[in-house]
Assembly symmetry: C2
Homo-oligomer: 121 residues x 2
């Protein structure tokens, strides 16, 4: 049922390429890559790299008394990635093309995150 | 003249708290903190933490062939930070309150970034 949630987010986001549910230990729970995306993405590698970065960001946010880090987005030339912290153990990530709908990606990821949170407990 | 650019971005962003121009080595070039912001922010500490994270993100983006990392945003409970890479050496960051205008922050930071880029050469 995780895959359906991921697929829903990716397919409903214009320019959505891949979705990933992963633990902060870098171990993927589930993933979905859009067939027609055109840009092949090694979504597990993306996740593993970002799980490390996300851990550091959470530490930094704590240190800075900015409160719990909830969402991180990284825009690069060829891909944009939005990550959302679900709970202490898991995060969900969506990769989209640069011209994709970033605002919708964030919105859909937020709603997906609460769905996933209730399924992960 | 850097401070004026930073001040302009912070003051024109609803909920803007602080702006920072910093080298990837963690050494600040200039900064501006809005007087009336209400949330005192140690903007240099924010910058130093994020310069490390940003360096890792750039490495990750290269590795993933996502192209050059251009913009990173971190939303935490009490503060949101948007960072924009200016060139190989510098980045500019804007910290705003959670209810602040995130979209405008990103837009103003993009225009400020090109202004700063031409002044930094």
């Amino acid at each position: 049922m995780f895959k359906e949630v991921l697929q829903d987010v990716v397919d409903r986001t214009e320019g959505g390429v891949a979705g990933l549910l992963m633990g902060f230990d870098g171990i993927p729970v589930d993933q979905y890559v859009r067939e027609s995306a055109g840009a092949p993405v090694d979504v597990e590698t993306v996740g593993m790299e970002f799980s490390v970065i996300l851990k550091e960001i959470r530490k930094a946010a704590d240190l800075l008394e900015a409160g719990t880090a909830e969402e991180v987005s990284v825009r690069a030339e060829r891909l944009t990635t939005v990550l959302r912290v679900i709970n202490e153990e898991y995060f969900v990530a969506l990769t989209l093309l640069p011209h994709g709908n970033f605002g919708k990606a964030r919105f859909l990821l937020r709603t997906a995150s609460s769905k996933l949170a209730s399924e992960l407990t």
